[in-house]
C-alpha cells in the first residue's frame, strides 16, 4: 500500500496489471543473452554457463545486501570493506575454531550480521546519515582487514573451495546454488512482516512510524540482513579466490551499485527488489562476455558500460518530467472552456 503511494502512476498501473517490477531487468538480461548467444560459439555450453555463474556470484550476493539497504532508504558504502574484513578474518583466524570450516563459516556469518547491526544502530538509533555512518565503518573495517593481514596471501583448504566454488553434483555450479539460496532468503524476508516494514520505512519513515511500524528496529534488521548477505558473498569470494586480500576494490563498489540500478531498484527507498539485483549482476557478466566475444579490448568495456548505466536509468530519471511537460503543453493547447466562454 504505502509502497504504491509513492510510486509513479505508470508504475502503479503496471503493478495493478500484475506486472512485477522485475520485468525490465528480465528484459535487459533476455536481450543480452540473445546477443550473447549470437556472438559466442557454444555460448550456452555447460562450461560457459558455469563460468558466467562463477564470475557473477560474489557481486550478485553483495548487490542483494546493498538492495536491502537501498530499499530501507539508505546507501551502504561499507560493503566492500565488510568483504575484505570477513575474507581476511576467515583466512587468518581459522585456528580459533580448530580449523573447522563449518564452524568458521558460521562464525563469519555471525560476525557479518553483527557488523551490519552496528551499521543499523548508527543509522537507526544514532540517526547518522547512512552515507556517513557506512563510510566511517568503511575506515574501521578496512583498518581491521589490514590488522588481520598486511599483504594479500594465505591459503584455504581445497575442500572448502570445491564445496562453495566448485560444482554440486555433476555440473551444477555451487556459485549458482549460493545465488539461489540468497534469492530464497530474500523472498522469505520480503513476504515476512519485516519485509512489509522495510518497504514502509523506505517509502516514508515518518508515515511508517505514525502507523506503528518500529522504524529503528526495522533499520537495524535491514542492515543486519544486508550484513548476512555480505557474509554469504564473503564465503563465496574466499572459496573462489582461495586466499585473503585486505585491499578493498572500488571497482566492485561501482559494479555493485550498477547491479542494483539495472535490477530496477530505485535510489531513495521503498521500491525495488533483490532478485532484480541478481539479474542485474548477471546482465553485467553477460554484457562483459559479449564485448569480449566480439573482440573489444577489455579497456573499452568500462566506457560502454558507463554509458549503458546512464541509458538504463534515463527513462526513470527523465521520463516523469517529460510526461509532465507534455501534459502541461496539451493543457495549454486545449484552452479551458470556461475561459473561452468569458472571452466571448
Amino acid at each position: 500500500m504505502i509502497q504504491r503511494l509513492k510510486s509513479s502512476k505508470a508504475a502503479h498501473r503496471l503493478q495493478v496489471a500484475g506486472v512485477p517490477t522485475i520485468v525490465p531487468s528480465l528484459l535487459i538480461l533476455g536481450v543480452l543473452l540473445v546477443i550473447y548467444g549470437g556472438v559466442r560459439v557454444n555460448a550456452f555450453s555447460t562450461f560457459n554457463l558455469q563460468e558466467l555463474s562463477n564470475v557473477t556470484a560474489t557481486l550478485a550476493i553483495l548487490a542483494v545486501g546493498q538492495t536491502v539497504v537501498v530499499i530501507s532508504g539508505g546507501f551502504d558504502f561499507s560493503a566492500i570493506a565488510v568483504l575484505a574484513f570477513l575474507n581476511t578474518f576467515m583466512v587468518t583466524q581459522l585456528g580459533m575454531v580448530g580449523d573447522s570450516y563449518i564452524l568458521m563459516s558460521a562464525l563469519v556469518l555471525l560476525v557479518a550480521i553483527l557488523i551490519g547491526a552496528l551499521n543499523g544502530f548508527l543509522v537507526g538509533y544514532l540517526r547518522i546519515q547512512s552515507i556517513i555512518a557506512t563510510i566511517a565503518m568503511f575506515f574501521v573495517l578496512s583498518g581491521g582487514a589490514l590488522a588481520f593481514m598486511n599483504t594479500p596471501g594465505g591459503g584455504i583448504d581445497s575442500g572448502f573451495t570445491s564445496a562453495l566454488a566448485g560444482t554440486w553434483g555433476v555440473s551444477f555450479p555451487a556459485s549458482a546454488g549460493m545465488m539461489l539460496i540468497t534469492a530464497l532468503i530474500w523472498i522469505v524476508l520480503k513476504k515476512s512482516r519485516f519485509g512489509t516494514n522495510l518497504y514502509a520505512v523506505g517509502s516514508n519513515s515518518r508515515a511508517a512510524y505514525a502507523r506503528g511500524v518500529p522504524v529503528k528496529a526495522t533499520l537495524v534488521k535491514a542492515y543486519a540482513f544486508a550484513g548476512l548477505f555480505y557474509g554469504i558473498a564473503a564465503l563465496n569470494y574466499t572459496a573462489a579466490t582461495g586466499s585473503g586480500d585486505p585491499r578493498v576494490s572500488f571497482v566492485l563498489l561501482g559494479q555493485m551499485f550498477a547491479a542494483v540500478i539495472i535490477g530496477g531498484t530505485i535510489f531513495g527507498g521503498g521500491r525495488g527488489g533483490a532478485v532484480g539485483s541478481i539479474l542485474g549482476a548477471l546482465s553485467l557478466a553477460v554484457f562483459e562476455a559479449i564485448l569480449f566475444s566480439v573482440g573489444f579490448e577489455s579497456y573499452y568495456t568500462g566506457i560502454v558500460f558507463g554509458f549503458l548505466l546512464l541509458v538504463v536509468v534515463l527513462p526513470a530519471a527523465l521520463g516523469p518530467h517529460l510526461i509532465e511537460r507534455y501534459q502541461a503543453n496539451r493543457r495549454h493547447l486545449k484552452p479551458d472552456p470556461v475561459e473561452e466562454g468569458t472571452a466571448l
Binding site: F75, F77, L122, L126, R127, I128, Q129, I131, I132, A133, I135, A136, M137, F138, F139, V140, L141, S142, G143, G144, A145, L146, A147, N150, F250, V251, G254, F257, A258, I261, F267, G268, E297, S298, Y299, Y300, T301, G302, I303, V304, F305, G306, F307, L309, L310, V313, L314, A317, L318, H321
Partner: protein, 328 residues
C-alpha cells in the same frame, strides 16, 4: 522600549552576528580545535617531535582540502560526487602524457584544467538536464573515465610532469611550501565566492530546496552545472599539484581521496543533505584527517589502527554535531 535596545535585540551579540555572517561558525571552530588537539596529543605523547612533521601535515592537508573543495560544492547542492577517483587520475595521466619538455607546460596545464572542468560540467549536465541522481551520474562518469584512461594508456601510464611544475610545487613561496600557499589562497577565494556573491547564495538556495529556489527565480540548472564544473576544476587543480609533487601519475592516484573527501566535508559540519556548510570547516576536516595520520606516522602504530581511529572520530564528530543541531 527605545529604539537602541530594539536594534541591539535585532543585531544580537557579536557572536550571534558573526554566526549569521559566517554559516556553521561553531562547527568550524570545533573542527579546528580538534585539529590542534590532535597535534597537541601527538606532542604530549612524544610522537610529534619535529616542526617538519607539522609542515608535512599541512602540506598533505592542502592537497586533501582542494580535492574536498569539489566534494564540498557538490554536497552543498545536496548531491554527492563519486567521480573523484578517476577525475583525478584521468587529469593527472593527461598532464603527464601530454607533457613534452618544460615549455609544453604553458599549454598542458590549461588543457588539463579545461578537461577536468568539462568532466565536471558533464556531471552537471547529467544531474541538471538529464535529471539522473548525482550518485548514479558521478558513478557512471567514474566508470567511463576509468575505461578511457585504460584505453588511452593501453594499461601503462607514461610520461613525467614538466620540471618547472615539479620545482614550483615542491618549492616554497617565501618561507611556506607552495601547496600550502595555493590552498590558503583558494580557501579565501572560495569563501568569498560562496559567502559574498549572488552565485554563492544561489548554491545554498538550490541545496536548501531546489523547487523554492526555482520559484524564487534562481536558474537551478545553470547553478548545478556551474557547481559541478567548478568541482571538476578543483579536481584538475589538485591533479596538477599532485603530479608536480610526485612527478608521475598512476592508476591508484585518485582512489584514496574519495571517502576522505566526503569525511572531511562532514567533519567540517557541512550537512550531507545540502544547503548548509562552510568551506573553512571542510579544510579543517581535511586537516584533522591528515593530522591523525601524521601523529601516527612517527610511531610504529600500524596503518590499520590509524584507519580505525579515523572511523571512530568520524562517528563521534557526526554524533556531536547532530546533538548540537538538535539543541539549536
Amino acid at each position: 522600549m527605545n529604539t537602541v535596545t530594539d536594534e541591539r535585540q535585532i543585531e544580537g551579540s557579536r557572536w550571534a552576528q558573526a554566526r549569521r555572517r559566517y554559516p556553521n561558525l561553531s562547527a568550524v571552530v570545533t573542527v579546528w580545535l580538534v585539529f590542534v588537539a590532535v597535534l597537541l596529543f601527538g606532542l604530549v605523547a612524544g610522537w610529534v617531535t619535529r616542526v617538519g612533521q607539522l609542515e608535512t601535515a599541512l602540506l598533505l592537508a592542502s592537497f586533501a582540502a582542494i580535492v574536498a573543495l569539489g566534494q564540498h560544492l557538490v554536497i552543498l547542492t545536496g548531491g554527492i560526487d563519486l567521480s573523484i577517483p578517476f577525475a583525478l587520475t584521468a587529469s593527472a595521466i593527461l598532464l603527464t602524457d601530454l607533457s613534452n619538455g618544460p615549455e609544453s607546460m604553458i599549454w598542458v596545464i590549461p588543457a588539463t584544467l579545461i578537461f577536468a572542468t568539462l568532466v565536471g560540467a558533464w556531471n552537471g549536465f547529467g544531474v541538471a538536464i538529464l535529471r539522473v541522481s548525482p550518485l548514479i551520474m558521478t558513478l557512471s562518469t567514474n566508470i567511463i573515465l576509468l575505461g578511457m584512461v585504460l584505453a588511452y594508456t593501453q594499461g601503462t601510464p607514461q610520461g613525467l610532469a614538466p620540471d618547472p611544475l615539479v620545482n614550483f610545487i615542491t618549492g616554497s613561496i617565501g618561507p611556506i611550501k607552495t601547496p600550502i600557499v595555493i590552498a590558503a589562497v583558494i580557501t579565501v577565494l572560495v569563501s568569498l565566492l560562496l559567502l559574498r556573491t549572488s552565485f554563492g547564495r544561489y548554491v545554498f538556495a538550490v541545496g536548501n530546496n531546489p523547487d523554492v529556489a526555482y520559484l524564487s527565480g534562481v536558474s537551478v540548472k545553470r547553478v548545478l552545472i556551474g557547481v559541478y564544473a567548478l568541482a571538476g576544476l578543483a579536481y584538475g587543480l589538485a591533479a596538477v599539484m599532485l603530479c608536480g609533487w610526485t612527478q608521475q601519475a598512476s592508476f591508484q592516484l585518485g582512489d584514496p581521496y574519495l571517502f576522505p573527501s566526503i569525511a572531511a566535508v562532514v567533519l567540517g559540519g557541512t550537512s550531507i543533505l545540502g544547503g548548509r556548510g562552510n568551506y573553512l570547516g571542510t579544510v579543517g576536516g581535511a586537516a584533522v584527517f591528515v593530522a591523525i595520520g601524521t601523529v601516527f606516522a612517527g610511531t610504529n602504530v600500524p596503518e590499520s589502527t590509524r584507519n580505525i581511529v579515523i572511523g571512530v572520530v568520524v562517528i563521534l564528530a557526526v554524533t556531536l554535531i547532530q546533538r548540537e543541531r538538535v539543541t539549536e
